[in-house]
Assembly symmetry: D2
Homo-oligomer: 123 residues x 4
């Protein structure tokens, strides 16, 4: 998934504000669902971030086009772990590992529905 850096993504330092890389990764996760004709919001619940380990390698700048690559590292009954890397051309500027858990709309951790588990496993 390609993402252009606009004014709103930068700060006074002239580069992308640090938390916006997490937003870029979230867009890429949602887009995986949209590209498959699905929504990341299921009929019974949705996925929320539980743990993140992020490394800032380079600074992305206004106007640049970035690419987010998403890889499934592990999937369990109620959670999964992704590696998400952001590239500017061949150069990696950011990477994070994120654990997401499936919560029903009451906020309780719950088993990922089989169809979504199959979809996530195929990534």
């Amino acid at each position: 998934m390609q993402i252009r850096v606009y004014y709103e993504d930068t700060d006074i330092g002239g580069v992308v504000y640090h938390s916006n890389y997490l937003n870029f990764c979230e867009r890429a996760r949602s887009q995986l669902f949209f590209d498959a004709g699905r929504s990341p919001i299921l009929s019974g619940g949705h996925f929320v971030a539980k743990h993140i380990e992020a490394d800032y390698l380079k600074s992305a700048k206004f106007g640049e086009v970035l690419e987010v690559k998403t890889t499934l590292l592990q999937i369990k009954n109620a959670s999964f772990r992704l590696l998400q890397e952001i590239f500017r051309g061949d150069e990696k500027v950011f990477e994070m590992k994120i654990d997401l858990v499936y919560l029903d709309f009451g906020g309780n951790m719950s088993k990922i529905p089989p169809e979504e588990k199959a979809f996530l496993s195929s990534l």
Copy 2:
């Protein structure tokens, strides 16, 4: 209501990103409710922006402390109009007039409940 300008509010131009002044005004509107022990989200609906006229007078900068002043201009059965001005000391940096309408949770325009109408009229 006082608002400090942080990194997230600025962009590569070194000043506050233009749409963030609207966010500052929204914080001030919600805070009017919170300060009165109320919530801007009512049991039957909430208020949404319908029309905005905004003037950018000066650029607010990182680290500055701004003050938002909110004045009721007009209230009708299902909507009201506010003047919101943002100051840096004595200097006005931004002002907008905003029309807000009351929508029930089905998204239909609806009469503002009497208690909230009285509260808004007292501003």
Copy 3:
């Protein structure tokens, strides 16, 4: 320019947060420059918002794909006025008129360079 609505664009009301429509329009303005192999940040200055009149017509929702259409209404020596409309399919959800002025990096209003004026006039 097409824009997908992601989680970050929504709020607890379940629809796009009101100031994010301004961000979408800003992306579209910058993208006009990028598409022409240009940058909205010139060697001697850049464009900043001076006045906005915005109408919220419908609520855009998570996952929807919106289209921003930008039309030049007027151009003067140091400023120009655009109409920017956001559509969901055939339905207009938002429109605004925005006046932008050209500021040099000292923050002073300045004549738009001839090449950029020609570019803007061609929109």
Copy 4:
């Protein structure tokens, strides 16, 4: 440092959008400088995030008042590590460890100036 959760901080899930906890922590870091009559932007450079490990423990909601506590874990010549915890009353909702490095305005890692090192060490 106390932070109120406003509309802009929430998403369609009805709780604070995951990357906004990082923004709250950044506000708290900058505020440490402001409270001491300083700025986080020094004459020769500034601090940027290098590595983050974040745990999402509870969901913060619209209207809640959160408190950010910041503790220095380690300081080296050109970097330091903080623990930042966000509480809602007695309940911890988020925590992260963040490594920040000092970059000069050319973008090169550089020694933290002695006065700022002393200030950071006093936290």
